[in-house]
């Protein structure tokens, strides 16, 4: 294998990766227990193929578009849970927190006649307040998050019932809110956003290589960077091409085409949280507290404040999940955010590659894991399985993901990777 030795600015000799050695190193990391999203991506492809072969409607444009609004709530709650899981904590109340926030929005819209621009922020603020209270109890009183959020799980379920006047169903008819989960972008805007996303991604990747090369630091081989950009471009272009097809049964009456509006909403939050986790001091400190709390404390990181903040982020994201769930269902009922939503969301984060032991995870994990969960739910529904079977299968897959996480961790310990 040809590896050229190079010197970084300081004079520390490091190996400059070549195209071949990059894959070799990646495979080495995977074997060493650093799996990331790899199992989830493979699982997603396999599951899609299985469902696609079994039911050709699975690959229809209509069903593909459906996946986005179906999975949005899991993905949003899971993105928030990633932060909590990074600290090795758990938030069991995120599901009902999203229900409470959704209910608050619906009540303000329908019963009090608030406009969307008032009701949506009110729901988000509710999420932030919930998160602050949970985080405060965990960080300052030292109550295990499992207990705090289990109590909150029950309490929020009660609050939701009370808000809805003992279990009534409140429907909404605000056009803007309904559009969030059910509307589509126009074909032109869809393509424009896709191109913008690809150009933006390429610019960020190339800029990174350029700024590192300018300092004479080791960069990823340019071939790898090219492949990464090409991969993202292909996925986005193919998805957009499918989604801009006509998918209405009766196009003359009611044309349905374009990227669902939830897709760019997911993308925006994915970008924001990826940026915050990867490129800011705050994100670095979240990883540090998750990796070694004592080391973080000695480094002067305000551990308690970080702990509170992740719960705030989690409940905030849950509130957005709730808003989208209410939008999708056109209404809120006592089960919004209940039943399997929380478990699917935790499952999404873990299946996507976020470790339950803290310190390892990314925002993208939630999206990939959420896609796996949604595909299972959707595909098995198309195949005509009952809810009972779906739960069993999803439970098994979550168990597999958690085992992969635990085994990878053990493997990492034995290979000296942890």
């Amino acid at each position: 294998m040809s590896t050229a030795t190079t010197t970084t600015a300081g004079g520390v000799k490091v190996v400059k990766p070549t195209f071949g050695s990059f894959f070799h190193d990646y495979w080495g990391r995977v074997r060493g227990g650093d799996l990331g999203s790899l199992p989830a991506v493979i699982g997603l492809i396999l599951l899609s193929l299985i469902f696609g072969v079994a039911r050709d409607t699975f690959f229809s444009a209509l069903n593909f578009a459906n996946l986005f609004s179906q999975g949005a709530q899991y993905i949003f709650i899971a993105m928030g849970l990633v932060f909590v899981l990074l600290l090795g904590e758990i938030d069991l109340s995120a599901g009902f927190a999203s229900g409470v926030c959704g209910a608050i929005m619906a009540i303000l819209l329908t019963n009090h006649g608030w406009p969307a621009y008032g009701a949506i922020p009110a729901a988000m603020v509710t999420g932030i307040v919930i998160g602050f209270v949970l985080g405060f109890l965990v960080a300052k009183f030292g109550i295990p998050s499992f207990v705090v959020t289990l109590a909150a799980f029950l309490a929020f379920q009660g609050i939701l019932l009370k808000l809805l006047g003992g279990g009534k169903n409140i429907s909404i008819n605000n056009a803007f809110v309904l559009k969030l989960a059910n509307g589509n972008l126009s074909v032109a805007v869809s393509w424009a956003l896709t191109i913008l996303a690809i150009v933006g991604y390429a610019a960020v990747q190339l800029n990174q290589v350029r700024s590192r090369a300018a300092r004479n630091l080791v960069t990823d081989p340019i071939g790898i960077v090219g492949m990464r950009i090409a991969g993202v471009a292909i996925v986005l272009l193919v998805a957009t091409a499918i989604l801009t097809q006509e998918r209405s049964i009766n196009p003359v009456l009611n044309s349905v085409k374009g990227v669902p509006i939830v897709a760019p909403i997911i993308a925006v939050f994915l970008i924001i949280w990826t940026f915050i986790l990867g490129r800011t001091t705050y994100g670095r400190h979240v990883y540090a507290v998750g990796g070694n709390t004592e080391a973080a404390r000695r480094a002067g990181i305000p551990v308690d404040r970080i702990r509170i903040s992740v719960f705030v982020i989690c409940s905030f994201m849950a509130s957005i999940g709730g808003i989208l769930a209410v939008s999708r269902a056109n209404s809120v009922d006592p089960n919004t955010g209940g039943s399997n939503i929380l478990l699917y969301s935790v499952g999404a984060a873990v299946i996507g590659g976020t470790s339950l032991f803290g310190g390892k995870g990314k925002a993208i994990n939630a999206v990939i894991g959420g896609a796996v969960i949604t595909v299972i739910d959707n595909g098995m529904g198309l195949l005509g399985y009952t809810a009972g079977t779906k739960y069993v299968v999803t439970g098994l897959i979550l168990l597999v993901a958690a085992s992969v996480d635990a085994l990878a961790r053990r493997r990492a310990a034995s290979t000296g990777n942890r």
């Binding site: 970084t8 600015a9 300081g10 004079g11 520390v12 000799k13 490091v14 190996v15 060493g32 650093d34 700024s211 590192r212 300018a214 300092r215 630091l217 080791v218 490129r279 800011t280 001091t281 670095r284 400190h285 990883y287 540090a288 998750g290 990796g291 070694n292 004592e294 080391a295 973080a296 000695r298 480094a299 002067g300 990181i301 310190g359 390892k360 990492a412 000296g416 990777n417 942890r418």
Partner: protein, 271 residues
């Protein structure tokens, strides 16, 4: 040899409630020298280090830094003076890479974005100044490093900030033979770069291998601070275990010092 100590402690007293842990301890750390701090378990080594690093506040006594009296109330004061401690457990995050660990809590930023290239460059410079050339990549996770490499990263983290005094708490305790040699070499190099180094160790071989001066603590008192070349292995062991060795060390204990309240701790004495 430098004439004035970089860091000088004198008359340090420290009590935890009724228990006096440090009695009138003095210690001098000279630039360009390794001062070994030895003593048996419970002799007060860790307490002394924590007083210097600002984790504990001293009850009385003075701390002089470069000839000026200073007050150290918290760890921030200590780092502002350039005093860094490498603790035995290293305080590294396994899930972060070398550069991220070295800058933890003091990240360089451009606007709100982390300035990774600058940090990587500075980390590389620091490691190179310590003649560390054994890492595959500065972006390696600390989890994948060997014990000696981790120790190196922890030490590099301490010297990154133009530190003047580096205190190492048992840096070789968990290492194998080859790695111990590497770390000791690094300790020596720190001193050769002009820093004042305090090495806490139980291992007499390590102490004699690298140190210029040896300070022995005995039951919270400084038994002696001597030049390493002027004492023997067994003298230091006697200082550690008995507090004195020949004409070195504490004066013999006089019964009068106990003020009469001698406690009989002979087993079975209370029957």
């Amino acid at each position: 040899m430098a004439a004035t100590p970089l860091l000088e402690l004198s008359g340090i007293d420290k009590s935890f409630g009724p228990v006096q842990v440090l009695h009138d301890v003095g210690l001098s750390v000279y630039p360009g020298e390794v001062t070994a701090l030895v003593g048996d378990n419970g002799a007060g080594k860790s307490t002394l280090v924590k007083c210097v690093s600002g984790i504990y506040t001293i009850d009385s006594g003075t701390i002089t830094f470069e000839g000026n009296p200073v007050a150290i109330h918290n760890p921030r004061d200590a780092s502002a003076l350039g005093i860094e401690v490498v603790y035995q457990d290293l305080a590294l995050c396994d899930n972060l890479d070398i550069v991220q660990n070295m800058f933890l809590g003091r990240e360089k930023k451009r606007g709100i974005v982390l300035d990774e290239p600058t940090m990587e460059q500075m980390a590389g410079d620091t490691l190179a100044s310590l003649s560390v050339r054994t890492v595959k990549s500065l972006r390696q996770l600390v989890a994948s490093l060997s014990g000696g490499q981790r120790q190196t990263v922890a030490i590099a983290k301490a010297v990154l900030w133009n530190s003047r005094v580096v205190i190492l708490d048992e840096p070789t305790a968990a290492l194998g033979v080859a790695q111990t040699a590497q770390v000791l070499e690094l300790v020596r190099r720190l001193a050769d770069n002009g820093l004042g180094v305090v090495l806490i160790s139980h291992n007499m071989n390590d102490v004699f291998a690298v140190s210029d001066r040896i300070a022995a603590l005995y039951l919270g008192r400084l038994a002696a601070q001597v030049k390493a070349t002027e004492v023997t292995h067994s003298q230091i062991v006697e200082l550690i275990t008995a507090g004195r060795s020949g004409n070195l060390g504490l004066p013999p204990e006089k019964p009068s010092e106990f003020n009469g309240d001698v406690v009989d701790i002979t087993p079975g004495g209370d029957q």
